[in-house]
């Protein structure tokens, strides 16, 4: 364990990635992920690692593809418009079963939008903004410490399942400072990747990194096999936090920044006697369906709070499957909901019912 | 006879105009501050102005009008 230090979320991800053995970063500047790249630019050369500013997000994600295919731990980071540009590349990475870390510090959209915090890329992250049947593991930290912990985890999961992992944050998480501790027992690197293009050294059959399967039978087989892998991930890697949820009659669903605000609201509501709790998905994919469907047996209603016009709410509805009402409260375009707004919303849902 | 006028509230105090005036008459106001909080440029010895518009040409904020 290292000392506790105060760090910005963006920098914490960068530091954690390097400690997790990531020595290759390819990116293109964009607000509000700036500090992440700046940190990498400064620190990577000190450990013999590579920070490379690509000519574009498209180039960056394809450099990631190449490096991931060559077997190293590699990452990129960007924000919403830049992540949109990476969609073809991400689909290729998924289609070639390569591990890597993609960080999206989400900003308000669509289009050029704004640079304030948002959660309106949830669909893109969880449904595949790219083409074809594929998934990313999507991790949604809600504190700087969790940004660190999930970064280690991201690389491990990526390597374990040979799939791309996304960490989704927002400008608030990226720019805020909190104390963090780096667990140096974690990370450190790359296991054996027998499939990687490291050069045959005339000692093995050649390796091929590829996503083209011109025979539909072959492509279908592969896609279903991958789907099986996804089922394994669904079974083994769901992560979520419950907060005052045990006896809750009203359950708030929120992740990341909004989950923190929801906690404030819950504290106040509990003090006033409302039985309110929180289920906070940490993995947005795989989504904690069961946690919600279990809670649906006892809760009277759900309230999904998002910084979007309503995206994760669909996953909550799919989990709750009509058993009890699922409400929605959203702010968007860079606006952050306040505890007061959530409190009011819960009260209106509960009626007088404490 | 020439005259320059400054749209003073647009001035950002960058000093570029002061470097190009052949007569060295464009100076930064030491004490006045405009609405934006900048010390604006000004010409005190207007009679020396030859109306060359160099100051206006280099001003990035189109602050200056020149008459002759």
């Amino acid at each position: 364990m290292s000392d506790k230090v105060l760090m910005k979320g963006n920098e914490a991800i960068a530091e954690a990635a390097m400690r997790a053995g990531c020595r290759h970063f390819f990116g293109y500047p964009i607000t509000p992920q700036t500090e992440l790249a700046a940190y990498m630019a400064k620190k990577m050369p000190k450990v013999g690692g590579l920070f490379l500013q690509a000519e574009s997000e498209v180039a960056a994600i394809n450099m990631v593809y190449g490096a991931a295919g060559a077997g190293v731990r590699v990452m990129t980071s960007s924000s919403s418009p830049g992540i949109s540009l990476k969609q073809e590349g991400i689909s290729y990475i998924a289609g070639a079963d390569l591990p890597c870390l993609i960080v999206n510090i989400v900003r308000g959209g669509p289009g050029l939008g704004g640079i304030q915090p948002a959660q309106s890329d949830y669909f893109q992250a969880t449904r595949g903004g790219g083409h074809g049947d594929y998934r990313l593991i999507v991790l949604a930290p809600s504190s700087v410490q969790e940004m660190v912990d999930l970064t280690y985890l991201a690389f491990d999961l990526g390597d374990k399942y040979r799939m791309p992992v996304m960490i989704i944050g927002d400008g608030m998480l990226g720019q805020m400072m909190e104390p963090v501790v780096f667990d140096d027992t974690k990370g450190g690197g790359t296991g054996e990747k027998a499939w990687a293009t490291t050069g045959t050294r005339m000692a093995r059959k050649r390796n091929i990194i590829n996503s083209l399967y011109i025979t539909p039978e072959e492509l279908e087989k592969l896609v279903w096999e991958r789907e099986k892998k996804y089922d394994t991930v669904r079974a083994a890697e769901v992560r979520f936090e419950q907060y005052a949820a045990g006896d809750a009659e009203y359950i708030i669903a929120a992740y990341g920044t909004t989950a923190r605000i929801a906690k404030n609201a819950i504290d106040t509501l509990r003090r006033e006697g409302y039985k309110v709790g929180l289920i906070r998905p940490i993995t947005l994919w795989p989504f904690p369906n069961e946690a919600f469907s279990r809670a649906a047996k006892t809760a009277k209603a759900f309230l999904t709070v998002e910084m979007s016009t309503g995206q994760m709410v669909e996953d909550v509805r799919l989990s709750v499957d009509g058993k009890v009402p699922v409400h929605f409260y959203g702010r968007t375009g860079g606006m952050v909901p306040s505890p007061a707004e959530i409190i009011e919303k819960i009260k209106s849902i509960a009626g007088g019912d404490k | 006879m020439a005259k320059v006028t400054f749209l003073e509230d647009r001035c950002k105090g960058c000093e570029l105009c002061t470097t190009v005036c052949p007569k060295k008459i464009v100076v930064m106001s030491k004490h006045r501050m405009n609405a934006k909080g900048f010390h604006p440029a000004e010409v005190l010895e207007m009679d020396k102005c030859i109306g060359c518009a160099f100051c206006a040409t280099i001003c990035p904020d189109a602050v200056i009008t020149v008459e002759k």
Partner: protein, 250 residues
């Protein structure tokens, strides 16, 4: 007394958001002056980039479109092809034009799109806080080249005019500067020529303008002009790199 210099009509009457002494402002004014002189405001459509000049759409009185980062030449192509009688210009930074927008720039030139491109080279990404640009100089310290741009990992600065001059569709490519009054006048003449080329249907014209970024260079506006002269100009020589009107004459 008559007015010998005033704010051009097609520059809207608002305060520019640029940092004090940033020469983006000069370049804006020159474009507006040219639009006024050619009397084309009513049929001109400008395309703003993503970069410090992203709000350019607020600064010209003509119709404007805001393009995605790097895509201004493609957006301009769409506009021009929708009505070839209109005059279309883009205003782009070096990150916008020479990094993410490389393909759009090269192919607008190859197609000889009949548009005018104003390319503001300040050797840095201004808007995002001072990262290395494709045009940053070797050794230049930026947020993403904190130890100075190193050729081994970060390569060499791109010379856009030199490269575009090799493309047959480029009608006109000139590099100018706005570091002093003489150069500003030349810059304006070049911009005017680039618009006149479009009026005459000559095809793709680009004017590269060396410009300052006092904020991210960490210099005062006056110092920044000096840095431009001493560091940028030797690497980016001013001059005409291609001009089909001259070739025609030959």
């Amino acid at each position: 007394m008559a007015i010998v210099f005033e704010r051009p009509k097609s520059l809207s009457d608002v305060t520019l958001h640029y940092c004090p002494g940033c020469t983006h402002g000069i370049i804006h004014r020159l474009i507006a002056e040219v639009i006024d002189e050619l009397d084309i405001e009513g049929k001109t459509i400008g395309v703003a980039p993503v970069g410090c000049s992203v709000f350019a759409y607020n600064y010209f009185n003509c119709d404007m479109q805001e393009a995605a980062h790097g895509r201004a030449p493609a957006v301009a192509t769409g506009i021009k092809r929708a009505d070839p009688g209109n005059i279309v210009f883009t205003y782009q930074g070096d990150g916008d034009l020479a990094a993410i927008g490389t393909a759009e720039t090269v192919h607008a030139a190859a197609r000889s799109e009949n548009i005018t491109v104003i390319f503001v080279n300040n050797a840095i990404y201004g808007m995002t806080g001072g990262q290395m640009a494709p045009t940053s100089l070797v050794g230049q310290v930026t947020q993403t080249s904190p130890y100075g741009r190193k050729t081994e990992t970060q390569g060499y600065p791109l010379k856009v005019c030199e490269t575009l001059a090799t493309i047959q569709g480029t009608a006109y490519a000139e590099r100018v500067s706005v570091d002093d009054v003489k150069n500003i006048k030349k810059a304006k003449a070049a911009i005017k020529k680039a618009f006149e080329n479009q009026l005459a249907g000559r095809g793709f014209s680009i004017v590269e303008v060396l410009s300052t970024c006092p904020t991210n260079w960490g210099l005062s506006p006056v110092e920044a002009l000096g840095w431009l002269r001493e560091n940028m100009m030797p690497h980016y020589p001013l001059g005409i790199y291609k001009d089909i009107t001259k070739e025609e004459k030959k």
